[in-house]
């Protein structure tokens, strides 16, 4: 699973223009929520660190043939590209529809920060949704296992009754077995009784969980936690 960073997202500012990177950083610092920043010169960027950022801002771009854009677009992460002209922005929209093209007009930094902030909120929402899906899948697996155990309980109980009954029948024959053998048969019987107790506890736990569900009480994540909660 890809490493995620829910506490503080990282914005990659990719530019060959130092002033552009400084201006973006300075404008964003005035916001209440400031992400982590990686300012990287487009001269050293080789397009490989795709997991290291949540949002990429590229600029200023003079035409749609910027060398970093194809690699950034394939990451599936939001990319905002600040274009120096309307023609460049339009060309970029036509060539790479996933890239958000923004024209470098007066006051574009406000729009950039607003758009970037929304992108980061979306990224965070997607990450939370993925985590929720992951948790739901885990719970689903556990529920399947639980259902299987419930279904198998009767079969197990039947087998156990047979073991218990036969061991008791053997113990009812005095003198048929030597003392060590009787001792072993008693162990079999006692262990069978213990297993029966465990199955009984399992049944009562299932009943209590049903009652709790009917009363609208959310059951704990694990049967052990449930057993602790009910004392």
């Amino acid at each position: 699973m890809e490493k995620t960073n829910l506490d503080q997202p990282t914005v990659l500012v990719l530019s060959a223009d130092a002033e552009f990177a400084r201006a973006v950083l300075a404008r964003w610092q005035t916001e209440r929520n400031v992400p982590a920043f990686a300012l990287v010169s487009s001269r050293v960027w080789n397009g490989s660190a795709t997991a290291a950022f949540d949002l990429a801002i590229v600029g200023p771009v003079e035409d749609a043939a910027h060398p970093a854009l194809p690699a950034l677009e394939t990451t599936g992460k939001p990319v905002i590209c600040v274009c120096v002209s309307a023609a460049a922005a339009q060309a970029l929209r036509d060539k790479m529809p996933r890239v958000l093209a923004l024209r470098s007009y007066e006051g574009y930094l406000d729009a950039l920060v607003l758009l970037g902030g929304e992108c980061l909120r979306r990224v965070e929402a997607v990450k939370r949704a993925q985590q929720a899906e992951h948790s739901a899948a885990t719970i689903q697996r556990q529920a399947t296992l639980g259902r299987y155990m419930v279904e198998m309980r009767h079969s197990l109980n039947n087998a156990l009754t047979s073991v218990l009954g036969n061991s008791e029948l053997l113990l009812m024959e005095p003198g048929a077995f030597s003392a060590p053998v009787r001792e072993q048969i008693e162990i079999i019987r006692n262990m069978s009784l213990r297993m029966n107790e465990i199955i009984q506890r399992f049944s009562s736990l299932e009943s209590e969980m049903k009652v709790a569900e009917e009363r609208g009480i959310r059951p704990p994540a694990s049967p052990k936690a449930f057993a602790v909660a009910r004392g």
């Binding site: 503080q8 990282t10 990659l12 130092a18 990177a21 400084r22 950083l25 982590a36 920043f37 990686a38 300012l39 990287v40 010169s41 001269r43 050293v44 960027w45 080789n46 490989s48 660190a49 997991a51 290291a52």
Partner: protein, 115 residues
Amino acid sequence: MTQEKTTDWQASEQSAVGRLARFFPGATPVRIPVSVSAGGREKAESEATVIEFGTPREALFACQLPLEFAEKVRLRNADGSFDTDAWVVALHYHNGQAAVAARFVHEPAHWVVKL
């Protein structure tokens, strides 16, 4: 100059320098104490730091100096065997920490990370 074991990579990945190193796939963990000073200023402040990652052309280190993107810096070790100018090519700000990647103007003598 000593080169750290690669297992230290994961431990330092959460630091600002470690995070910045993710943008430099060829970066190797190193531990080289140096002083860094802003080269382009009249009264250059300097700071003692440690180069934590290196590539054949760049050094990555934490720095509290107010360095800026594309600024020239000077890196020098205690005995002067490593003394070079470099351009700031990447900066990472994370949880109040700043990490810098500086690309050497010329290939420095005695640099441990080779192609």
